[in-house]
Amino acid sequence: MKYIFSVILFLAYTANFAQTSPEESDEQADTVRVKKERVKMELRGMHMGFDAFGAIKTAVVPPLIGWEITSDIDLKKYMVVFDYGNYRNAFQDTTRNLSTSIDGDYFRLGIDGNVLKKDPDRNALTFGIRYGWARFEDQLIFNHDYAFADTVLTRSLQFRNLNHRAHWLELNMGMKAKIYKGLWLGYQTRLKFRLKYNPGEWIPFEVPGYGPTENISTSNSTWGFNYYILYYIPFKRDKP
């Protein structure tokens, strides 16, 4: 359901960009066809910022601590993007004698294509791909009851992954909008897939940067979201 919902939203949005009215079509028929100007790549500037969504979750949902910084090089048609983050989380349920914890770092590296190449404010609607990589440690402690020859036995079990590594791919869609002078807001929606990790002692509950792994046995993909507060450093001004 959530996939259908997202696809409809995405199509509706992109269709809105592509729509032209009948009047516009008539006008186009009367006008002289002008050779389409090719947009050249040029180093225009860079965005630097942090994930506000992660910062809010850190403040509101303890003991979760998650931060992420992002930067991109604006090449007009394309943006080369690098994200780096840290994720720590723990969960404890005394009624089930269950506790789990995770601590790790991650980065993403990728490229975005910018649909709004000629926007005067350099606002951007982007589609891109990322490679994500994480290194982390996690631990799971729980009590397990099982019946053996009419006797119920309870065992306290502990599983730990040390120096665990994972990597994955992402398809991204996002926007970056100028708010005031150098201040920008932006978001990225991420379809994360092809998660691979070394086997370890237990199946990781979460992977830093990737998120929960609960769907890995079915769709092997998950959704992610980041809301960025950014600062834009222009390297050159646009020609009028």
Binding site: R96, L140, H144, L157, K178, Y180, Y187, F225
Partner: protein, 151 residues
């Protein structure tokens, strides 16, 4: 201080905010999965014609776990519960005039789907080595895991 925003910028803020809210609403909680069990099934067969064999079992003792899985039972099949605190078991089977042993190795592999779910304890990497029986056929590719002992 009043910050002037160009109408174009205002519409961008609205679009960015709406997409943010809609995307967050798409992040659903997962459904819990059933525990798939922690047993390995076994059955006895005659080597000559591969027919099922019923044995009067004196005991199936699990060395290392120091418990009998079965005692004084007439049976052609059964199941062995895999203790999650171990990674190998030695089964000593005494039946009629027969006595044999086999080593069963495995790896407990927990999966926590969600903090709202119970832990699913999987068992992977099963293998068996035997020094006593005529032959053993294993079916460890998919659940239910099982093996056949040929006499």
């Amino acid at each position: 201080m009043c910050v002037y925003l160009h109408p174009m910028n205002k519409s961008w803020i609205i679009i960015v905010s709406i997409f943010a809210c809609l995307t967050i609403s798409c992040l659903e909680d997962p459904a819990c999965e059933e525990d798939k069990g922690d047993v390995v099934l076994f059955s006895f067969f005659k080597k000559a014609d591969s027919s099922s064999l019923t044995l009067s079992v004196d005991s199936i003792y699990i060395q290392g776990f120091m418990r009998n899985a079965y005692k004084n039972a007439s049976m052609s099949s059964g199941q062995i519960v895999l203790p999650p605190e171990l990674t190998s078991l030695k089964l000593i089977i005494k039946a009629d005039t027969l006595e044999g042993s086999l080593d069963l190795n495995y790896q407990p592999y927990p999966k926590l789907y969600s903090t709202k779910c119970n832990i699913q304890l999987l068992f992977i990497n099963h293998n068996i080595t035997s020094h006593s029986f005529d032959s053993i056929a294993t079916h460890f590719e998919k659940e239910p895991y099982s093996f056949e002992i040929y006499f």
